[in-house]
Amino acid sequence: MWRRAYIAALALTLVLTPVGTVSAHKFYASLAQVERTADGTLEVAVRLFPDDLEEALRRSTGRRVVAEDSKAFASALMPWLNRHFALDSGRQRTTFTYVGAEVTVQVVWVYVEARWPAGLDASAMTNDILVDLFPDQVNTVNFVEGGRRSSQVFSATRTRAERLMEPQR
């Protein structure tokens, strides 16, 4: 089966889902590349499934948002993304700004950036993208800083990582 088809009981919609919600994919996942450049900027690319993201934005804004409609999409996206995807360090928390998006048939890539003087070693991350909609959602983040690489996997049971550049487990 396609993973989209089976969702545990919590994750389904009845009246609010527009007819035509599509199962264009088979499982629940996002994947982000977070690179902190030498000048202290976080350059972020997040890959999501468009139908899942549209459903989240519909709930977040109370209206239908189509990924291909770039203006409405960007303004709906950013508050949502900043709520569910953030680094923090001390009292600081990221507020990403929109750089752009690429929408394809299967995935949407969202590009955002933020000034972030703190290094990744001194940062933690909260990532609960879509876990309230899809219990099986798995969010992977690959971090890059100064040639060092690390990965963290977030899910409904792990929405926060304190040591981003150290091996998980």
């Binding site: 396609w2 199962s23 264009a24 996942a29 590349q33 752009g100 929408v103 590009y111 926060r160």
Partner: protein
Amino acid sequence: MTLSSLVPNRRGIVIAMTLLAMPALAPAQTTLVNPVDKFKQLEEILPTPNDQRTASGAPGHKYWQQRADYVIDVELDELNRRITGKETITYRNNSPDALTYLWLQLDQNLFRKDSDTNLTRTAPSMSGGFRGREPEVADPSSPQFRGPRMAYNSLEGLLASMTFEGGHNITAVTDAKGAPLAHTIVKTMMRIDLKQPLPPQGVFVFNVAWNYNINDQKRLGGRSGYEHFPKDGNDIFEIAQWFPRLAAYTDVNGWHHKQFLGSGEFTLEFGDYLVRITAPDDHVVGASGVLQNPLQVLTAAQRDRLAQAATAANPVLIVTPAEARENEKEKSTAKKTWIFKADNVRDFAFASSRKFIWDAQGHMVDGNPARVTAMSYYPNEGNPLWEKYSTAAIIHTLNVYSRYSFAYPYPVAISVNGPVGGMEYPMICFNGPRPEEDGTYPERTKYGLISVVIHEVGHNYFPMIVNSDERQWTWMDEGLNTFLQYLSEREWEDDYPGGAEPRSIVEYMQSSMQDPIMTNSETVQQLGPNAYSKPATGLNILRETIMGRQLFDMAFKEYSMRWKFKRPEPADFFRTMEDASGIDLDWFWRGWFYSTDHADQAIDGVKLYTVDTRNPETEKALQKKTRDTAPESLSDQRNAKLPKVVDARPDLKDFYNTYDDLDVTERDRKMFADMVAKLEPKEKELLGTTANFYVVGLRNHGGLVMPVILKIDYTDGTSEEVRIPAEIWRRNPVFVEKMIVTPKEIASLTLDPHLEIADVNLANNSWPARPAKSRFQLFKQERPRNPMQQLERKPAGQ
């Protein structure tokens, strides 16, 4: 500088080689690593071959499997949304073992309130506040602040699962004579105790009666269920996992009674089915198998249209959209019984609704003895997409999959539109995509529909016929099927979106948190990439880069033919692919299926050697040039201006003040002439070689051993590609050197130029080094910076 590396020729005479200074990375230290792990055969990892499963990956001479034939009467109670059934099962014990009990699967028990699925569900995210490290200043009016909350649908689904009375009610279990049989229900399994053990080759006939409430698929989820359409008050029923089914009993695991938790799918036995489905008489019913009583359930017009469809070039409507709309109004309470027969299937599913449009087209698949009828059932809400694409996609799937595996052996292939997004059963599958209410649809929906139909119809081959154990090894059906889906999509149209390209899996491969593919389905962390994308991409790499299409296709077809209507294990696939192709792939299975290593190859140092001509006129001049063009140190530059004693007093100079050891002397010339005089003609020729000898250092940072594909660009504008099998890493999987001998001068080198091996870091793939831009940087460089422009801009591809 003359560091000499000596290359012996056959007679043991050495030719001196000269290393020329290269603008290269410093050659890194070579550490020899024990290579055994990467290329060691999988002997102790794969199960020992036996009489059931051979070392070549084929079924053995004592291969056996059980069989269960079913005769079922079932009624769909539309008003109460309830299934009531009774069945007679004829179970054949083909194993060499006497069985004292039988196990049956009761999948509907997944919906019981006390099911493991419900009990083990972890708390939904309440997504409130700032979790974890709380900022000292938390402003509740800030958009970043959240109070505790729960998604509307989460709450609704939770409440629905608390009130739904789901699960199989078993009302009778009796033997052939009607005497009750002792039975015990263990969650989603039921054990029937036999009065006498069932001996090898014995046959046991028994009856089960049951009923259950059908789940509202849109609220409760599941692989089947009903969908309600408030506009016209009708439902679409997609009914599957609905009757108590024999659990599999096999040579590998004995009884497969691993509980059904919802993620892992099924392990089933083949058998023949005769199923009588009673439904409201204005419903249209589609099912696994062939309709036996068209005279009773179809109108004369419908029978005519079906006859016409058998040889039609395009789908013929058996029930038209207008007729379906009329049916929607009827709400008949009378009943009708549809009889279906399905031979040699491992399961049986059906769909029923008065909303269905029904189209059909007979199709002769290459190599098939008989026509297959491809059919689609869908509501008006599915058009215009369904009438255009569903049946066409079924036929395309049969054509492509049959070519890569075996001719489709069943008489019908059906695609149904209802609540389920995508789920496969023998001969019938459920597919979700629909257009918008106004009949328009985004591109995504169109390709989503075509892809899901290909995928679910494709499951007829894997695992409906090549009957792998889905509950244990999701990749064996999903990975293989996703791979063939990808091949089918390439043949639908040019530039069909998506696919199993290695570059698409790079982000997953580089993440450090993965499970190997060879991990049980229910415990895999990221089942999607793990069981679908990674195995499919691996097969694509095997086919395109490692084995080649011809060898791969032959071996893959052999696997399909060997295990058609049988039950393969992972080792049977691994062994057959090697056995049929003659290519040792253990290193690939080990790396791609049993480990989480990724590919990251790097060019690590390039050295250039030329042949030392031994001619003092040539060599000493070269050495002089090297010496004289060597950089002068800062001290030397400053010291040059200082007055020197020997300049003031030339009498202090002697022989050594004018001697240059790189001047050619008469003695040098004589020695060279003497040496040349002693050489044989062949040796003289070798000495005259003007080729460049490049030694390229290759480092494997990722751990995964993969072929090395190296593109060489020369300064004269030409280029060539060297394809080196993965075995180059067999003695040292971390660092190797490869020599390139060429009369030309190399301008640049590029590893993996066609992005074939899912190399996760392209920054170290070039010589001279070329910075690799991240996805973010590539995107940004092509886009205007201004956010207002961004907002006005059309998205890519529009």
